[in-house]
Symmetry: C2
Amino acid sequence: MKEFELINRYFKGRGITRRDVDLGIGDDCALVSVPENCQLAVTTDTLVSGVHFFADIPPRALGHRVLAVNLSDLAAMGAEPTWVSLALTLPDVDLPWLEAFTDGLHEIAEYYNVQIIGGDTTQGPLTITVCAKGIIPKGKALTRGGAKVGDWIFVTGPLGDAALAIEARKRGIALTPENKKALEQRFFYPTPRVAAGQVLRGMATAAIDISDGLVADIGHVLRQSRVNAVIHADKVPVSQALKDTLPEAERWPYVLAYGDDYELLFTVPDAQKSALQAKLKQYGVDAACIGQILPGEGKLEVLLRGQKLALPAKGYEHFTA
Amino acid sequence: MKEFELINRYFKGRGITRRDVDLGIGDDCALVSVPENCQLAVTTDTLVSGVHFFADIPPRALGHRVLAVNLSDLAAMGAEPTWVSLALTLPDVDLPWLEAFTDGLHEIAEYYNVQIIGGDTTQGPLTITVCAKGIIPKGKALTRGGAKVGDWIFVTGPLGDAALAIEARKRGIALTPENKKALEQRFFYPTPRVAAGQVLRGMATAAIDISDGLVADIGHVLRQSRVNAVIHADKVPVSQALKDTLPEAERWPYVLAYGDDYELLFTVPDAQKSALQAKLKQYGVDAACIGQILPGEGKLEVLLRGQKLALPAKGYEHFTA
């Protein structure tokens, strides 16, 4: 199967059709219309085989995941996802693999009402880049730079599951079948917090998605907001599967430093705290208060039942090995 | 050097700053404002080492080229390029390589007044994906589907030079030093026809950029416009370097089928023909009339001094080998 047949079979005419797409797949560019009084939010994330995922990852999960990690960045700005471009570099044409990959991709795109408006299909080592676009009412975006002294720090869900799924495989950590399934589900099919991100608009002061690890990602917020923070490790939500598998003393690298969680971390003034928590609950999001913003210039202190906890190694960065 | 240092050193604060960029590199998303009464044009192209370029390509040329091929797609729609996202997958951090690569990239970005608004830097086999965005007055985009019977077919410049540069290296074709330099310049530093594309708005009926070869690319126009065409091979402009190197009988695969030219092919009604040629000349573009649109359903005939020329093999497609 050649490039153009592949595009016709797996992309053209599949997935949803948005009214604001004036020209989709099949010309030199796609053409879309951004509504008046909205800004365009743009983000790009690449997944490389052997770096971001094991080469034998179920292709349906990979299709889900590559879109999810990009939608998560849009969520962290409070944007409504609209359009994506897909650059797919494949070692060869494996039809069942492509079928499953595009199933996963179209499934999550439809769920979030996102249209794939174009892309590029090339031959080479398995690498996938998505450029996701979203819209946001002018001036309403949540940045990393707005946290204020006294704000409470929240996360939208449990951390460390994806980390444990990966390390269990790498280092042979024993998991019960139910826990293995639950943890892998969190790694394979992360949930971008798209609705939560939009709920945060006008209420939260800063937001970021946790992709590189809680400590590293909150670090961006603290430096860009020019504040300090304290986090209570024992307040950070963890799943039953993680609790079952790791004694408390062994959890912290997974929970605090590993990343791949794609939960949102956000800050909210005391006056909005209860209202925001209640509103998120309406969307099924049980946000947990894990700490507070303090005066300072970018430092983080992590406490465990009031005692200082040594910070685990920093979040994932490429080219550090 | 780690990922974040790399971004700070080579990207953040470098290059031009556009007023319509509300938030650039350094948050979960970039934020930009699309002017009212404009559509957003979006395109994505990937370059893979060993597939789209030799691994030893001068990095400055690669930086230029990866942006040029994307701007060429915007040009083919008549769009004004504005913002790009860059996904850079590198095997390792090679500082002199990165310095030269980003020099080439920022140079062409500045020339075309394009801002790099974000991206992703990952470790893996050398692969570069750019997602380029542009703006275009509503309804003024040039598509592949507008060619009408009787329209003249033009190209904006000589074809086959990049092809000859590549094949000369692969197959050891002898070149004079001047010709080698001229041909490699065309492969390494292609000129996206950005100004020409905007001149074509409201005058041309269809346009495409020649990336996969003249025959393959005009084929898209013919099928999407539901017309036939005749092209006179001897009217297709070729450079002196190509003429010097190849006897006429050996030129056609390079000129008609190889691609990598990044000239625009466009169609124009007879009534606009002279005015458009004159206007393009003001922008330094010497467009050549190479054929005409005929009634039909997508067929192309190529003539050489009135005699039918056998079509060379089709344009480049991935996964055909």
